[in-house]
């Protein structure tokens, strides 16, 4: 089971939260996902040496973490020592050309978007950007306010969803309480410009909004490690016997399929010789499906899960067409913040927070899943 450290030693998220000296549990090392290529130009021996060096360093950090967490025992979540993840922080990123995930202009247009972020470090908790947020007394998180199950304002006027849970975990780590998270609803178009604005004028400190990491965006902002890998799937009507009316996009040739304007789904729909009906807001697709104007909806599975939750007569089908790795976006060049968030993320994934949130929001529609294995650029 993920979230439990094999040696039973505590992780360091408590230190992250309390601004402690280290970012623990890094020593256990994250497994590289199956099928990812090793970094070009580096041999197996070099890699082994690196892992050994990193393991030694992380062991030292872990020791410091144990000490620190013992000191902070008895305090609320700020000092609590959550279980460590089964995978570590130190796996070598199979990046092809990225020089770092902090959004510097040096990132090449071609990159490994899933391994573009900086690994957590002990110093990150006391880095200038993290300290600035702590001194601010709250963290401003840019979220969506209209994406059901990921980030939306419920009828009571509160943000909730998978992304919101993650933001709460970040607030918990920084301030010991999720109440210090200030949600700011950002439109899709405003996310990157706002993060790139000056510290004095930007409205948010980070963005958690089903934001896909890609090379173009990495040139503009920084990203955390991947916290969810969505994929393009289909939402279709159920037949009276409960089975889906279509099971793949190939069956939709000559039919109408709804997708968001400008999304990558359009090309997939056209390739399947189906007619794409474009809308601005994905919930408009559900209206079109319910009115029988379209026969299916194509978009990220997380969004489809949100639509499926609203109508018991539809179901998510299809093999994931194209992976969409979601990351937490941070302002460019705020490396300590990126590293710190990756530490929180690793902790969140290891302590069962990710799994509980996934089960709550997506489990019924998308089935069981595991958090993505973290990969870093360094």
């Amino acid at each position: 089971m993920r979230g439990q450290r094999p040696d039973g030693r505590p992780g360091l998220s408590g230190l992250i939260a309390s601004g402690g000296a280290g970012l623990g549990d890094a020593g256990s090392g994250r497994a590289r996902p199956t099928g990812t290529a090793p970094r070009p130009g580096r041999g197996r021996a070099v890699r082994r040496r690196m892992v050994r060096r990193r393991s030694a360093w992380l062991c030292a950090l872990a020791l410091a973490a144990v000490t620190a967490s013992a000191c902070s025992a008895g305090t609320d979540m700020v000092g609590a020592q959550p279980p460590a993840p089964t995978v570590g922080f130190g796996s070598v990123a199979p990046s092809t050309s990225s020089t770092g995930g902090s959004g510097g202009a040096s990132t090449a247009p071609t990159c490994d978007a899933t391994a573009s972020s900086l690994a957590p470090t002990a110093a990150a908790a006391n880095g200038p950007d993290v300290t600035a947020i702590k001194n601010q007394g709250y963290i401003r998180v840019g979220v969506s306010a209209d994406q059901y199950l990921t980030g939306y304002l419920n009828s009571a006027g509160h943000e909730e969803g998978f992304d919101i849970d993650l933001a709460d975990a970040l607030g918990q780590a920084l301030f010991g309480t999720p109440k210090k998270v200030q949600f700011v609803a950002l439109s899709t178009a405003d996310r990157i410009p706002d993060l790139r604005a000056s510290a004095a004028t930007r409205k948010v400190d980070v963005v958690i909004d089903t934001m896909t990491i890609n090379c173009a965006r990495l040139l503009q902002v920084g990203f955390s490690a991947v916290y969810y890998t969505a994929s393009q799937k289909l939402l279709v009507d159920k037949k009276p016997d409960g089975t889906p009316s279509y099971t793949s996009i190939a069956q939709l040739a000559g039919k109408k399929v709804c997708a968001q304007s400008g999304s990558t789904s359009i090309a997939a729909i056209q390739a399947a010789k189906a007619t794409a009906m474009e809308v601005t807001n994905v919930t408009d697709c559900l209206v079109l499906l319910q009115e029988n104007t379209v026969q299916a909806i194509s978009t990220d599975d997380t969004l489809l899960a949100g639509l499926a939750k609203q109508d018991p007569n539809v179901t998510v089908v299809g093999v994931g067409l194209e992976p969409e790795p979601y990351g937490i976006a941070v302002p460019p060049n705020e490396k300590d913040l990126e590293e710190y968030i990756n530490g929180v993320l690793a902790q969140y994934e290891s302590d069962g927070g990710w799994a509980a949130s996934y089960a709550k929001w997506f489990g019924p529609s998308l089935g069981p899943a595991q958090p993505p294995a973290a990969q870093y650029s360094d």
């Binding site: 209209d146 059901y148 304002l153 009828s155 006027g157 178009a189 601005t280 919930t283 319910q290 609203q310």
Partner: protein
């Protein structure tokens, strides 16, 4: 010495001239009086109905959109208000459809509208039903309904509104002003009578023919009546035109208020994923309320208590609406919703709603007040033409003048028999 033959010609010419003057005056005066009545009772009434139709559509949309902000359960006052708006729309459509018989364009637009109202109501119903479950697709249904209303239904009503507004203004112009045809005919008739009179005076060595003089008097009365009616009707129509402008402004203001309420709510429902269009539209709709607070409006209404109250209330409403727009624009939707509809036990009755209700009441009162003045002024226009006697009296006068002219000239003819 005139021959009997010439006297007969003079008699016929004088009779025809006076009768013609009487007929033309009767036609002109009664035509204008009829136009004034038709404008007040039919054209302007139809204009008012289609404006009300537009308002009720906008208010239904605003009510539905605001209801989605309040929470999952739509409060009864909101469902009642929406139901009342749709019932009003159906009633007004029925009444307006009967009035526009013969106007193909307006009939077509209203027919289209009648077909769309049930579809619109169905979409709003879907939105409210989904909202009860807290599903965001409620917002999508509302967007569909709202897009249909603002993109198709309102423009259809606007076509009829523009047509009837122009017809009302044209009607007021036609019903007032000098009837130059009547003036011309009367002057010609008078000239003819003067000529006949002078010929008779020369041939009979008598200064005056009593019958011809009476005919001249009749034509002079017709001429004077025409001028007096023109002045009277022009003054009354001018005042009526001012009243009509106020009716237009207050009715458009009421529709703009409802439109702004709908867009303020939609901005909070769409939450930034509309590319800022809702924000632009809500700001524009609030700005459109400006004329009702203007100095010209105050001057036109004589700075009545009602217009002063309206100006104050509209400023408060605009201020509240702008606050909500800015909060939503900054991504603070939870606060924007509280600003718009209130919170806690106050929800649905707080926020901007009291200000909006005041403005609705003010504008309704001002519309009623202006409508009352308009009806009075248009009645004055009608009465300037002798009201219901605009046809009979000039005809009778023309007939009397013709008889008098015939009698007078016949007396000269009798001298030959």
């Amino acid at each position: 010495m005139e021959s009997p033959h010439r006297l007969w010609i003079m008699l016929l010419a004088a009779v025809i001239a006076v009768l013609l003057a009487g007929c033309v005056a009767a036609t002109g005066l009664s035509g204008r009086q009829s136009t004034a009545e038709h404008t007040a009772q039919a054209t302007e009434a139809l204009y008012g109905e289609v404006q009300d139709l537009s308002y009720n559509l906008a208010d239904a949309n605003a009510t539905a959109a605001t209801a989605l902000l309040i929470g999952q359960v739509t409060p009864k006052p909101f469902t009642d208000r929406f139901g009342s708006d749709i019932t009003q729309v159906e009633d007004l459509l029925s009444a307006a459809s009967q009035r526009v018989t013969g106007d193909a364009t307006a009939s077509h637009q209203l027919k289209l509208l009648a077909e769309q109202v049930p579809e619109y109501s169905q979409w709003v119903g879907q939105a409210l039903a989904n909202n009860r479950f807290g599903y965001p697709v409620a917002g999508a249904y509302l967007r569909q309904a709202s897009a249909m209303l603002t993109g198709e239904m309102v423009p259809e009503v606007d076509t009829v509104i523009t047509e009837e507004k122009n017809a009302t203004e044209n009607g007021m112009s036609s019903a007032s002003g000098t009837d130059w045809l009547t003036v011309g005919v009367c002057v010609l008739a008078l000239a003819m009578l003067v000529l006949v009179g002078s010929r008779l005076a020369r041939s009979t060595k008598r200064r005056m023919n009593l019958g011809v003089a009476a005919a001249k008097l009749a034509v002079l009365v017709l001429l004077g009546w025409t001028f007096t009616a023109a002045v009277g009707s022009s003054n009354a129509a001018s005042t009526a035109r001012g009243d009509f402008d106020l009716i237009v402004q207050t009715q458009v203001g009421a529709s703009q208020l409802a439109t702004s309420e709908a867009y303020v709510a939609l901005q909070q429902i769409d939450r930034g994923e509309d590319g800022g269009k809702d924000q632009q539209r809500s700001t524009a709709a609030l700005a459109a309320l400006g004329p009702v607070t203007s100095a010209q409006f105050q001057a036109a209404t004589g700075e009545t208590e009602a217009s002063m109250a309206a100006a104050t209330d509209i400023k408060a409403m605009v201020s509240c609406g702008e606050a909500a727009i800015n909060q939503a624009g900054a991504g603070n939707y939870a606060q924007a919703i509280i600003t718009t509809v209130g919170s806690g036990s106050d929800v649905g009755q707080g926020g901007c709603e009291p200000d909006a209700q005041h403005v609705r009441d003010d504008l309704s009162a001002l519309t009623g007040q202006s409508q009352g003045h308009y009806d009075t002024d248009m009645a004055s226009v009608s009465s300037a033409y002798a009201g219901g006697g605009a046809l009979e009296l000039p005809l009778a006068l023309g007939l009397l003048g013709a008889v008098a002219a015939a009698w007078g000239i016949n007396r000269r003819l009798a001298e030959y028999r």
